[in-house]
Amino acid sequence: MPYAVQTPVFEGPFDLLLHLILSEQVDLYEISLSRIVDGYLAELERMEHLDLDVASEFLLIAATLVELKSRRLLPQSDDMDLDEELALWEERDLLLHRLVECKTFKEAAIALAALAGDASRTVGRTGGVDERYAGLMPDLLAGVSPVDVRQAYLRAMAPKPRPRVDLDHVAPIRASVTDAIAELVDELPRVGRITFRALTGDLVERLAVVVRFLAILELFKLGMVDLDQPRTFGDIEIVWRGRNRDGAPGLDEVDVYDG
């Protein structure tokens, strides 16, 4: 498990993004969205390798990042829907705002830790009164009957209302890149050659599209598909290069094909 030792575990997508953008000691003008997106995706991949349950929060932010990056690749596009473009900008601003907010509370947390550290150097007295005064203690059970005790017990044992979790910020599905790869390894040999647009035509969820995109990149890296883009900014064509249709490799064996 060399990974576990080398790299920090990120608390969440903002944590990871802050790390990627702020830890690079580069000239301001050299910060590039592409590099950050690559770093983010590499980290996602690492988490999958570590068999961590990659939370949908990470994937949602990945979706936004990939979309931002893909916009960057297009020139001042004419065919882009203006609403879509505005929505993307809004999303970006929101993401930026959340990063700033997250960073603010990270700093605040450091200050709280310092306060707690100072405070832990003192211990308050809880010794209370000595036995001389024990008789004076008012009887706290005055007016309490055995039945009250039973009632209190039943109250205490009653199942607590389950905390209702607001899932607004979480995608309803948990898409996994690994699953997507498995699907593609099953599907691509049958079709041989397909455009990315066609491959994702039936997907409604943006997140699902992104996950497929990540899966394709993964397969490309492994040399199992070729990517071809005949026209600049045109459709991306995916060509299956896998050798053995029937013996479609399990993901564990995928590395064998590398190189």
């Binding site: 608390e11 993004l17 929060e57 960057r72 700093e107 605040a108 947390a109 450091i110 990517l227």
Partner: protein, 227 residues
């Protein structure tokens, strides 16, 4: 108030604060001694200064809205040796961040905290609640009636604060303009000024521009190169 009465009140304060199991409010001390809270606070400050001047191993301190006796921070090494159960386990980074959000944004719902942190906070919030640092302090009047959380006295005691207003201002922690600019640039979906200039000049030798072009042609390439 004569000097004798003053001495009398000071002694009574010492006795009562000593036997109180938690920080005791100036109000309550005032009621017991028939003094105004302001006078009580003044006498307590006097006593505190005296202990410090005498080099005592304890302090009279104002914590969580009341006065209490506590060991002097200097003596932490000895006290830690004695208080074996390390009474307050260290708070994790996640717990501290969550606590900071609740402290500054209270009252706040679990979902709102999760939105700020970008991850689910159910487990952390439950732990903080169990440890008594946060508590349910009401319900959102809105349609969802979400449970709203706030910090507790125990939180103030843990941080050695007198009141929640004594927290440093949140504004102190807002990232500097430099950092914000860096973040903004990291998420900028258009060519940077440098690139635009480079492209405009048609300077093909510029490696940055070259890299950009590579990306255009093949979305996978940049990634592959990086590996």
């Amino acid at each position: 108030m004569t000097g004798g009465m003053r001495d009398e009140a000071r002694r009574a304060i010492e006795a009562i604060v000593l036997v109180s199991e938690q920080p005791i409010e100036a109000n309550l001390l005032g009621q017991l001694l028939e003094l105004s809270p302001a006078v009580v606070d003044e006498l307590c400050r006097e006593l505190a200064a005296e202990y410090e001047a005498d080099g005592r191993g304890f302090q009279l301190a104002r914590v969580a809205g009341g006065w209490r006796f506590q060991s002097h921070p200097d003596q932490a090494p000895y006290v830690e040796r004695f208080v074996l159960d390390g009474q307050s386990a260290k708070l994790s980074a996640a717990a501290l961040e969550t606590l900071a959000i609740v402290a500054y944004k209270q009252p706040i719902s679990r979902a709102q905290v999760a939105a700020i942190r970008g991850v689910s906070v159910d487990g952390v919030m439950r732990t903080l609640q169990q440890r008594g640092y946060i508590a349910e302090i009401g319900r959102d009047p809105g349609p969802g009636q979400a449970v709203m959380f706030g910090t507790t006295r125990a939180f103030l005691e843990r941080l050695g604060l007198d009141a929640i207003d004594d927290l440093p201002a949140l504004g102190d922690f807002v990232p500097s303009a430099d950092v914000v600019e860096q973040l903004e640039r990291g998420l900028r979906p258009e060519p940077t000024v440098a690139e635009r200039l480079a492209n405009g000049d048609g300077d093909h030798a510029d490696p940055a521009a070259g890299r950009g072009d590579g990306d255009h042609a093949d979305p996978g390439a940049g990634r592959g190169d990086g590996e």
